[in-house]
Point group: C2
Chain length 386, copies 2
């Protein structure tokens, strides 16, 4: 994450003195891959054929620059391309546009890694709480955190609040809305947040714990910020957002808003195609790890290996690694693996992630009887025994 020093730096009349770098995996023969890497340099910046680009600072600084090009395996090459920070400065949306805008439409190019200098990182405060802050907020200094979801869609606010109460009584740290709970007529946002926040507060008074209710504020662009503020006023302790649905900048906006000031969990809904093809898009660590953290997620949800989705153990561990690797002054975030998790997976998750993860367990807490608080306690006991 140090400042990128480039070979041609001494030669160029630099615009701002700093460049950030994107490592792309490009599939094809060496000749094809090199042509694709060259194409990326132009497509992501000037969108102009090479021969039409004016000489001088546009050609030397604005056009992307291949810093390294190397084989990875037969038919696969790594191209590290640097861009002037100034092309993407102070704007997450434009940053993503430079990293992977038009080339998202060109097959066989995958973002493998971002290397961001301090002058770019400093535009992003990142997670407000981060790992330490979230542990402090929840009074859980040491064990993995626990999170469950209120479900199924179709229950009334009153029914969901009763669930929330039971889960908080059982000691679950974060009780979130299922991400399908929006502002439906059968479960209006306002009533749900009020009832669920009250239920969790009531349980906390009985247990002496600090569980939080985390409503889903994903929705109309013009209401997200107001929903988040309203949720806070009604007693919510954290927020759930689906950045691939709202645009990732919604996460940045909520994270930076001092009038909200709540921890935020990013949910992966709708963004799957960015990672799933393995040939296009971005790798799992960049999208769920680096980017969500850069944008301000205190916790990032992704489907754990061996659940009902398709990520490998290696991909999941790489996400967790990206949530804590050095990144300027940006705090580490919590990985929150979920997606069909059950209590018999806990030992395996401890082995893969250590103790710094959020166990996301939804339907699994509805198994083993109708006493949800008891079911929750049984899962949490697994953290003590291992």
């Amino acid at each position: 994450m140090a400042t990128i020093r480039t070979a041609g730096e001494a030669l160029t009349a630099s615009l701002c003195g700093e460049r950030f770098s994107v490592s792309y995996l490009v599939a094809g023969s060496e000749r094809e891959a090199l042509a694709m890497a060259t194409d990326i340099c132009f497509e992501q910046t000037v969108e102009f054929p090479e021969d039409l680009v004016p000489a001088g600072r546009i050609r030397e600084d604005i056009v992307g620059r291949i810093e390294r090009f190397e084989p990875v395996e037969p038919g696969l090459f790594r191209a590290s391309i640097s861009y002037a920070v100034e092309t993407a400065q102070a704007d997450l949306v434009q940053f993503l546009n430079v990293v992977y805008g038009n080339i998202s439409i060109k097959p066989r190019i995958r973002v493998e890694r971002l290397s961001l200098p301090e002058c770019l990182l400093s535009n992003y405060p990142g997670p407000r709480y981060g790992r330490e802050g979230l542990r402090a907020l929840l009074w859980q200094p040491e064990r993995p955190l626990s999170c469950t979801a209120l479900k199924p869609m179709g229950l009334s606010p009153r029914e969901l609040a009763e669930q929330a109460y039971q889960f908080a009584l059982g000691g679950i740290d974060i009780i979130k809305d299922d991400h399908g709970l929006a502002d439906q007529a059968f479960c209006p946002f306002e009533e749900r947040v009020e009832r669920c926040a009250e239920a969790v507060a009531r349980a906390n008074r009985e247990t002496g714990l600090q569980s939080v209710y985390m409503p889903n504020v994903t929705g109309r662009m013009d209401r997200i910020q107001a929903s988040a503020r309203r949720a806070k006023a009604l007693g919510a302790g954290a927020l759930l957002l689906c950045p691939a649905l709202t645009g990732i900048d919604a996460l940045r906006l909520l994270a930076e808003d001092d009038t909200i000031g709540l921890p935020i969990m990013a949910h992966p809904s709708f963004g799957g195609t960015i990672v799933t093809s393995r040939e296009n898009g971005m790798n799992h660590a960049v999208f769920y790890g680096t980017l969500m953290r850069l944008a301000g997620a205190d916790a990032t949800v992704y489907p754990n290996f061996g659940g009902r989705f398709s990520f490998t153990r290696e991909e999941c561990v790489a996400i967790a690694r990206a949530t804590k690797e050095p990144m300027g002054s940006i705090k580490p975030a919590f990985p929150a693996p979920g997606g069909g998790m059950t209590s018999d997976r806990v030992a395996e998750m401890l082995e893969a992630y250590g103790r710094d993860f959020i166990l996301l367990i939804g339907a699994g807490l509805h198994r083993g009887g109708s006493d949800l608080a008891m079911n929750a306690r049984r899962v949490l006991e697994l953290f003590e025994r291992t």
Copy 2:
């Protein structure tokens, strides 16, 4: 696009009486595909295992319902699944969440078609201008419209404004920012919009035409609406937005805002992975056609076949078809194929699209000499000759 009538309708205590339907292509053996279709019904709604879903209206109405399941070709099946409109009502973000939220992370499921009843469509005004409105605005009742982009990134507002003047003088209808022009220090949004809008107005006074300048308002979520209003105040005649970067709801928001009231062109940057794999995501017609139009795009940009991207002729024609097929009271939008187009492609595009398309030609207008107005005229003459 008629109201979906479902087999089980008479049996269910309906929540709102209407369901919308999504046709998914699912790859696998018949047994696997049917299991995946069943899984979609639960994953996209209750996110609960089948045996835990309460009987009654949740099981009968909220859970998705397989309306049809049929083979398409060996190893590929079509599952038409209906959802209660109420699960997704009045909120584009939640609608996308139900259509393709969590299953975006599950490989081998592709959205092939949306069938939306009037009670859902009526929540979306769609394009403010549409094809007829845009033709009226530009005083171009009959021929294909023309659009070019100001480039390359790195030029100053003054230099771009000179380009804009030349293109307008040459009769190009829509002169847009390249989508990489944001609010960079070397080309600030405010100054660029002011200069380019003024340049196009000046050319219009000389030509008697109605060319418009279309700035890119893609950027920070909390500034998009203000940027659009400011652009209008400075004389912009249309707006460019990259919905896959900002979240698609930004498009809906700008389209509905009566204080803005400008036509909007949607640009495909960053959204490529939604269509490119062909096995996952959404097909081209749904994403660039149906969805962009539903959200309010007057014109939708996509890479034309035979350019520097990878779409087939069939996929491109299907997009164009989706921009005009019956869709309640939602107006037809303009397809805007681009991406490396040159004048020698015009005949082929007329054949594929008829006369209702926007020819998007960028770098191609910089070939053939430094007189950009003359280059533009030469391309427009092709519309007359064919």
